[in-house]
């Protein structure tokens, strides 16, 4: 694929991860799911180019790659925002009011579950059971899992994290301006 030759070093490294995964399975067609998993891990999402690359390399029709990728919930086809919050909507979390947390965040950022804010800063996602049901409701903010949440605690934490990184960016921006 063109993306590969024109890709920068960073992207090349990630392609190497995909290649390694395919090699591990001897380029067998039944490794498709594993390879897609690695691809998503490396890039964070599956772009059309990446699906094409996997299809070429494994010699599986693009339609089949696409069919498999869209069947499973774990694959996403859009990049995530800079920050993200995953709210568990499994049974235990549901009966403890996780939908209220989803609603609060969705309202505060004006996006639906599964969407990213237009400025690419924040994504709101849901998951089915994170396996900490004893501490329901459970949310994951930028990879950190916490239990016993309320709409208020989650919203506050998300706002803090976004504000913090905005400050850092701002500070860097000012510094580079001063330096210039």
């Amino acid at each position: 694929m063109s993306d590969r030759s024109s890709g920068n070093a960073e992207s090349d490294k990630r392609y190497q991860l995909i290649d390694r995964s395919m090699k591990r399975f001897d380029y067998q067609k039944d490794a498709l799911l594993e390879v897609l998993n690695t691809t998503q891990e490396a890039f964070g999402y599956l772009s059309e180019e990446l699906l094409g690359y996997v299809s070429d390399q494994l010699n599986v029709p693009l339609s089949q790659v696409y069919g498999v990728a869209t069947f499973y919930h774990m694959f996403t086809f859009d990049p995530l925002g800079d920050h993200n919050c995953i709210i568990c909507t499994g049974t235990a979390c549901h009966v403890k009011g996780s939908n209220l947390i989803v609603n609060a965040l969705s309202e505060a950022f004006n996006i639906d579950e599964g969407q990213t804010t237009p400025d690419g800063v924040f994504s709101l996602k849901t998951a089915r059971c994170l396996g900490s049901c004893g501490l329901a409701p459970v949310v994951v903010i930028d990879g950190d899992v916490t239990g016993k949440q309320t709409p208020e605690t989650t919203l506050q934490r998300v706002r803090e994290i976004i504000a913090l990184s905005a400050e850092t960016t701002q500070a860097e921006h000012t510094r580079s301006e001063v330096e210039a």
């Binding site: 498999v68 499973y72 049974t91």
Partner: protein, 578 residues
């Protein structure tokens, strides 16, 4: 490597452990981690290091789930010749108190530049020691001590979870020191595959994946099936949203899963196996992969298992989040790298499964029950439980209860004991409404049936199923039609779309529920709902569709008044408007 070599390793590890005066176990499984166990564990390690104890005074072990997740992080201190103490809600501050309680804190004039290695620099020691002294003065550790006489612990019988919370899941030596791989060694040395099947049949073990099929019988089908290559698959997909039994077993005792799997493989004559694990469980995947690597290195997997001429190897396959992939034929498609859609049965996987070869699929908990059955004998296992449901069942107890967590109870225990003794009832000011078992394929059981002994037959009679072990308790704050809708929403999303009754039926059921919840329902809608549910049950291709109506049907049976109230409201409003 033959087993005597492994036994030497086990002996060495046991001797190493016995030298310690204190062993501090910190739960680092998922639930405790989300309650902050990471910080607790590192505080334990750092403050213990700062005590600069003699060699063999103390060891900190990261271990698995101790069960009472709602009170996490949990820490257990084992002191030689003294009873164990378990602490609850151990924040880093409490961790300091624990260390100060059990270890001598050295004076600060000691030479701090001593040859100390590790993450923490010796010049930090005075700082930690100051904190330890302060913690010691503050006292108040008693309130964190968990009484082991509590019914939460005394009502449980641990067969599958016996080593979890004691064993270090990352260490093969520790598993061996706890008697690991003894069952496998015994099977390979003294039993024929037929003996193994007979033993499991005699134990009465039934599949823990939900349906409760007798495991010994399934293995016999696998054993007698004709094929050059056979496969053994362990189902770790755990699709029930609200349950984490299999996850805990895979994460916290991965070698146990592997040992059970290898015994099963020997019984059926499989040469290769897959552990199919949900992608949402990265730690389980990592730990199983590590366990496989270590087992291969020690000759527990490979061309000559424990030095015998039995050959078996295994690999992990990662699922990508589709509920239906827990269904065995869909799982097989997924392992083959395809869309996870179910196949028609028959032929059953034991005749024609993975790549059309005979394949046995068992749930994680099923295979994890096997080593203790071999070690203690089938009679021992069959003595636990009820007439038709033997042994123990692990439940993920969650929802509106005081104590939530992971429990293992003998079959035949009543729901009342689980809810009121183990769980200590629903929270203050609320009343128990229902117990939901079996997740989206199961049903809701009302307070009238709390005294029913829990086993496969009874739960089925009540319109629910045992399922894989999700047990969600709900109180009067949850509306049952809304709860039924929650599950139907799940099934609509998860229906793979292959067969029409499930694909279209679930959407129609949800629409009817929406109409009722919105207060637009008519009197005959309940009949319609019931008919539709029965149709979807009867006509769907796989278990997903066949059981999808269960949450609706069971709530219609036990909580019909809530549905009727929705309609009544509407009628009243109309009357008022007239």
């Amino acid at each position: 490597m033959d087993f005597s070599k492994l036994q030497e390793l086990a002996q060495k590890e046991r001797e190493r452990q016995e030298q310690y005066k204190h062993r501090i176990f910190c739960c680092t499984s998922t639930a405790c981690l989300s309650a902050g166990a990471g910080a607790t564990h590192s505080m334990l390690e750092q403050s213990v290091a700062a005590c600069e104890c003699h060699e063999h005074e103390v060891e900190v072990v990261a271990t698995g789930c101790m069960g009472l997740c709602s009170r996490g992080p949990l820490v257990r201190v084992e002191t030689k010749d003294e009873p164990d103490v378990v602490y609850q809600r151990v924040s880093p501050e409490v961790a300091l108190k624990i260390v100060a309680e059990h270890l001598p804190i050295p004076p600060d004039d000691k030479d701090d530049t001593a040859d100390e290695e590790g993450d923490i620099l010796p010049h930090d020691f005075p700082h930690f020691r100051a904190s330890l002294r302060k913690a010691q003065e503050q006292k108040g550790l008693e309130q964190y001590v968990l009484s082991l006489d509590h019914p939460f612990f005394t009502k449980q019988v641990k067969v599958v979870l016996s080593e979890i919370g004691h064993v270090d899941p990352q260490s093969l030596e520790d598993y061996l020191a706890h008697g690991g791989y003894q069952a496998l060694a015994h099977v390979l040395a003294n039993m024929t595959p037929e003996d193994v099947c007979q033993t499991i049949l005699k134990s009465g073990l039934r599949g823990r994946g939900g349906a409760g099929f007798p495991t010994g019988m399934k293995w016999n089908f696998g054993r007698l099936a004709v094929g050059d290559t056979k496969y053994m698959i362990v189902n770790g997909d755990e699709g029930d949203p609200g349950a984490y039994m299999d996850r805990t077993v895979m994460e916290d005792d991965p070698h146990r899963v592997l040992e059970g799997m290898i015994i099963a493989a020997y019984a059926i004559g499989a040469s290769y196996g897959y552990l199919y694990v949900r992608g949402e469980y990265p730690i389980a995947i990592q730990r199983l992969q590590r366990a496989i690597r270590l087992a291969r290195r020690r000759g527990i997997l490979g061309s000559s298992v424990l030095g015998t001429n039995f050959s078996f190897d295994a690999d992990v396959r990662i699922g990508a989040g589709a509920f239906v992939c827990g269904e065995e034929t869909a799982l097989i498609n997924s392992v083959e790298g395809k869309r996870g859609m179910p196949r028609m049965r028959p032929p059953y996987p034991t005749t024609s499964g993975l790549w059309n070869a005979p394949t046995v699929i068992n749930n994680v908990e099923t295979v994890a029950s096997v080593p203790p059955i071999i070690n203690h004998g089938p009679e021992w296992y069959a003595a636990i439980g009820t007439e038709k449901s033997k042994g123990t069942k692990v439940f993920a107890l969650a929802g509106q209860l005081r104590n939530t967590g992971l429990i293992e109870v003998p079959m035949g225990i009543t729901l009342r004991e689980i809810v009121y003794d183990i769980g200590e009832g629903v929270s203050e000011g609320h009343t128990f409404k229902a117990a939901q078992t079996g997740g989206p394929s199961g049903g809701c059981i009302s307070a009238d049936y709390l005294d029913t002994p829990v086993d496969y037959e009874n739960l089925k009679k009540l319109g629910s199923i045992m399922g894989s072990g999700g047990l969600v308790i709900i109180d009067d704050t949850t509306s049952m039609p809304e709860f039924a809708r929650f599950f139907m929403d799940f099934c609509v999303d998860e229906s793979c779309g292959k067969c029409v009754p499930c694909r279209v039926g679930t959407v129609q059921i949800r629409a009817l529920l929406d109409k009722l919840i919105a207060g637009q329902g008519e009197l005959d809608d309940l009949d319609k709902l019931e008919k539709l549910c029965k149709f979807v049950s009867a006509a769907s291709l796989c278990g997903l569709g066949q059981s999808a109506p269960n949450p609706v049907l069971s709530t219609l049976t036990y909580f019909r008044h809530e549905y009727e109230a929705l309609i009544q409201n509407k009628t009243n409003q109309e009357a008022a408007a007239d």
